[in-house]
């Protein structure tokens, strides 16, 4: 028996004799902690609303860095830029702070949690991922696909402490130690979805539901000019970091897809983006080429049985160059 154990045994006897709680030995190998508590998550959402209101009222994207990060910051800065350049107005975005919080357990930073909540004054809901990169940084919203108000989000798997089971990217397994049981890793599924967006006749076309995002993106592509302009489009999936296990064994995958539209103008011709959002970047018609970069954040639902589909998305034009 070690001296520490003997000491605590003595302390246990003394405290028991004195009528108080006896020291209990902890699970030494469990060093993880919940990403957040409900109360702390609510404070994060309240702070987001406060700063976001200032940002939206002033149409000033500079303060967005205090509350957003990653590709979402890029998207929302782009949207604010368009709003300012094109003279568009929009009501400040405001989160209902009483939404559902899905928080997992982590043994190291970064920490993250997801808030499924209503957008105040709108029909849409948002599945917002908040991440905390380090112990000295603040919580930032990094992903925020929007869901139709009627979209049903399936039940989420929880561990013995009621915390959400999340995907351990490094270990390629669920946080409860179980293998994913999915037909492919979340990253592979998102890569295949991106391939399907780029190539409608991809070998993966039967592996996914023809969801509204796929349909919308194909319609947009079909509307692109084909006369005197050579148009091409590429899709690329960014690294998947946030995945929640569903109670049916499936997964909710937060994914970011980068879309690049390229216009190669034939000599003697020009392309004009008047009336389109890209006009915020180009004041004159372009005679050579243009490259528009869009970022889309999607929520890919992978059922335990059945084909995956995108149930939510948020994105926009984040950059444009041309001559």
């Amino acid at each position: 028996m070690s001296r520490l154990r003997r000491g605590f045994a003595t302390l246990a006897l003394l405290t028991a004799v004195a009528g108080c709680a006896v020291p209990q030995s902890k699970e030494r190998d469990d060093l993880a902690k919940p990403a957040t508590t409900l109360a702390a998550a609510e404070q994060v959402l309240i702070r987001y609303n406060l700063v976001r209101e200032q940002v939206d009222r002033a149409a000033d994207p500079s303060a967005l860095r205090d509350i957003e990060g990653g590709h979402l910051l890029e998207i929302d800065q782009g949207l604010l830029f368009l709003r300012r350049e094109l003279g568009l107005s929009a009501a400040p975005l405001r989160l209902d702070t009483s939404g559902d919080i899905l928080a997992g357990s982590f043994d190291q930073y970064p920490l993250w949690f997801a808030a499924f909540t209503r957008l105040v004054g709108e029909k849409e809901r948002v599945a917002a991922v908040f991440t905390r990169a380090t112990s000295t940084s603040r919580w930032s919203m990094t992903e925020a696909p929007r869901l139709a108000g009627s979209t049903t989000v399936p039940g989420v798997a929880t561990d013995s402490e009621g915390l959400a089971v999340t995907y351990d990217v490094a270990g390629a397994q669920w946080s409860d130690g179980e293998p994913t049981g999915l037909r492919a890793t979340p990253q592979q599924l998102v890569d295949r979805y991106a391939r399907l967006l780029q190539q409608p006749r991809s070998r993966w076309r039967d592996d996914f539901v023809k969801d509204s995002f796929l349909v919308q993106m194909r319609e947009l592509r079909a509307e692109q000019p084909s006369v005197d302009v050579q148009f091409s489009q590429t899709w690329k999936a960014e690294q998947v970091e946030h995945v929640v296990k569903l109670s049916d064994g499936g997964a909710l995958v937060f994914a970011t897809l980068v879309r690049t539209d390229r216009y190669q103008v034939q000599p003697g011709h020009s392309i004009d983006f008047t009336g389109l959002e890209a006009s915020a970047y180009f004041s004159d018609p372009l005679k050579s080429e243009a490259t528009l970069r869009y970022t889309h954040q999607v929520l890919l639902m992978v059922p335990g049985r059945g084909r995956p589909l995108v149930i939510g998305q948020h994105g926009g034009l984040v950059d444009a160059t041309g001559s």
């Binding site: 003394l14 004195a18 030494r28 902690k33 190291q108 112990s135």
Partner: protein, 224 residues
Amino acid sequence: MRRAGGWLLVVAGLLLIAGGVVAAVAFGPDDRLTSGRHTFTSRGVAVATAPTVLAYSGPTIELTATRKSSAPVFLGVGHHVDVADYLRRSAYTQIDSIDLPQHFSTSVVRGDRLPAAGPAGLDWWLVSDSGSGSARVVFPLPDDAVDVVAIDPKLRRGFEVMVTAAVIQEGAFVGGLAMSLAGVGLAVGGWVLRSGTAARNLRPAEPAHRAVRLEGEPGPDGLT
């Protein structure tokens, strides 16, 4: 039977007296079971416990950190995940184990950076205090893996701190005394019971058989 019961009560009473006295003396009138003062030094910015050191939950602990010349000190208790990230890549002294009541083993954790921010503005401390010369925290040992950190709030390297630890149990002193009194009552009661049994044992013993058979008189079965 009564004699054995009496002795049992006497022994139980004596045990209660001993336990109560030990508890009362150990915790004292301020209800604190206090360790001595231990000095820790670090070439880095902090002294922190390893997660295995506070491997028990339940009791309420009081920690006091003091520095010489009223130098500023921050004392905090945080979840190991937060503390480990906070001190990541920083040099500090780690308390690896405690051999109660007096011996601590430490190791040097190397690092080339300072924490990215001062400790005072962080929101994840479970409990914390800072001050000039001393800081004090009181907290129940939680189920989670927690670390104790004593750190220079201005993150200056070269850190020396004296730490005193105490286990607090409200009412322990009075409880100990009450237990001793109960033990006295039990022991006296047991002694009286034992003594009463002994007094009865001093009376002349009654004959084992009231019917005395005369020698030579035939018994009921006709035998002599």
